[in-house]
Symmetry: C2
Subunit: 328 residues, 2 copies
């Protein structure tokens, strides 16, 4: 913990749909407005025009469509690999990338190492719940095709994450499926449910609440919800799409009314609380370090929020809590 206190967030300046411009702009906001220490990783010539921030040079960029594992192995001077090395080498507290998700995962896995007992890392996001702590949903995109035992590991990692982040003493875990009755789901869920039911959750200081449906994500029915990365990513993207639709139509309609300011002021705090830009950064759980994954389309504001968020998480005891949640 104390070893990484105050160390900067290593930001992959070259990753993202509009990198480096939007990423660097976000890093500047984080540094100047939020007072978060930041170090950019990438091509100094392309970055330095935009910001006067510390830079770790990296000459290569792994493109969005590239085969991630292969690229990370061959492009050793790529920005994402260098960012992960900065964390490994104690030069940064954590890393953040809005680039190729697979490459961010592979670089984090290869450079930071895997926590014992974890087959595959998973991306966790806090799904905001009104009037409650968020529900942690994982996996939201690291593993499109999962084995049943991985979902159990996701649950255990989620327990550690919840405990560190929100001080939830006895996290409740559920599995995302399509009916409340036991035995409902696809083959993966049926097999994973059996494994989840066999565990003595008391030993892990957690509680298994069983099957949850999509709507239960909104109500705080569990602290941790596990699913495969295909399902989780679609749920995440659909949710963000619906948020954006409500945000735009409601604000547009209310703006036309005679008391627009008052109406907008009434709803804005809740919109801000739910805003995926505020909470949407995923954390790759299962590696020995804090590795954060943002959407490729992140705006500068989203990047700045993600950096601030990453920094906060890096100052918690997350990795140790996840490590200890894996054993009784």
């Amino acid at each position: 913990m104390s070893a990484i206190e105050g160390l900067p967030v290593a930001v992959d300046a070259m990753g993202g749909d509009n990198a480096p411009v939007d990423v660097v702009e976000g890093a500047l906001i984080a540094s100047e407005k939020f007072d978060v220490p930041v170090i950019l990783v990438g091509d100094p010539e392309k970055i330095s025009d935009h910001a006067d921030l510390e830079i770790i040079p990296a000459s290569e960029v792994i493109p969005m469509g590239a085969d991630a594992a292969g690229a990370v192995r061959t492009m050793k001077d790529s920005s994402i690999v260098r960012a992960a090395e900065a964390v490994r080498d104690g030069k940064a507290s954590c890393l953040l990338s809005a680039g190729n998700t697979g490459a961010a995962m592979a670089a984090s896995l290869l450079r930071l190492g895997r926590i014992k007992g974890i087959s595959r890392p998973a991306i966790a996001i806090p799904y905001p719940v009104l009037g409650s702590t968020p529900t942690t949903l994982l996996d939201v995109g690291a593993n499109a095709q999962c084995q049943p035992e991985w979902l159990v590991q996701f649950g255990l990692m989620g327990v550690g994450y919840c405990r560190a982040r929100w001080n939830i003493e006895v996290p409740r875990i559920g599995i995302l499926t399509i009916g409340e009755e036991a035995g409902k789901g696809n083959n993966l869920v049926k097999d994973a449910s059996k494994l989840l039911e066999e565990i003595n959750w008391q030993n892990f200081n957690a509680e298994y609440v069983g099957n949850l449906e999509g709507g239960d994500l909104l109500t705080g029915a569990a602290d941790v919800v596990v699913c495969d990365g295909f399902t989780g990513n679609i749920v995440l993207k659909t949710s963000e799409g619906i948020y954006n639709m409500f945000d735009s139509f409601i604000k547009a309609e209310l703006s036309k009314t005679s008391s627009a300011d008052e109406a907008l002021a009434a709803i804005t705090p809740t919109f801000e609380y739910l805003d995926p830009v505020g909470v949407g950064t995923g954390m790759l759980l299962g590696v020995k370090g804090v590795s954060m994954i943002a959407h490729g389309s992140s705006s500068p504001t989203a990047i700045a929020n993600a950096i601030s968020n990453a920094y906060k998480l890096s100052q918690m005891d997350l990795v140790d809590k996840i490590k200890s949640s894996m054993s009784v």
Copy 2:
């Protein structure tokens, strides 16, 4: 077409979380307020206290948790089986059930028969899109575990449905997955994508638009989106949960403002347009008749809307359009 014109909707009075009370109340609203012809199917003693509507007697009820296929075979005097028979026998234009979804599917399949070329029926829902016709999403829960070729059949059925329902001449079909690039997805999507890409869609008077992400459901990026029933059901339930959350918090916050009436009036039409209660009834595509499936938790209003919706659909040329969309 003309043979079923004006025939009543056969409503499974015994299916639903609060059946028969809520279902019968919904049927009364549909009959009295919407002027839709309705016939209730179920135990006359339990129904007749509540409504003075025509009844097809049925002595058995398939419970929510029951093994659907087995129950439909053995419980020949169950309300859902009798409702399907009413359609088969030309006594009703269509059927609606809020009971055991599997039983509704099995009864429809066994009593109405399967359309040639369809391996498995799928449940389709119109996903509302602002400023556009809805996007038809299927399967939303009939098949938790799918074969790749079924997704192709879902696409073809969706084309017929869109064409009949919204007069879309050249429907655009996409596949729900987790990245825009070809080859992104789980094993099912990878295999199904290959099949979808091989088809000459021009021959079917349709267009294949490829990979879509969750957010694309909101933007009208396609007219038909195919996925397995596990993913589709989770997307549907999550979307409904988010709608309900926005509906309740926004109305609560605006109610406290000084111009609450004006603010609420400004947003209500769009909320009504998006309301899952208005559009949420699924249609089982692939059987030779109109079979509608409502949520078990449907309120009387939701049931009434579903009945009205079912009646409208039964008066269209849906089944023939779907049949003809299956062949070049």
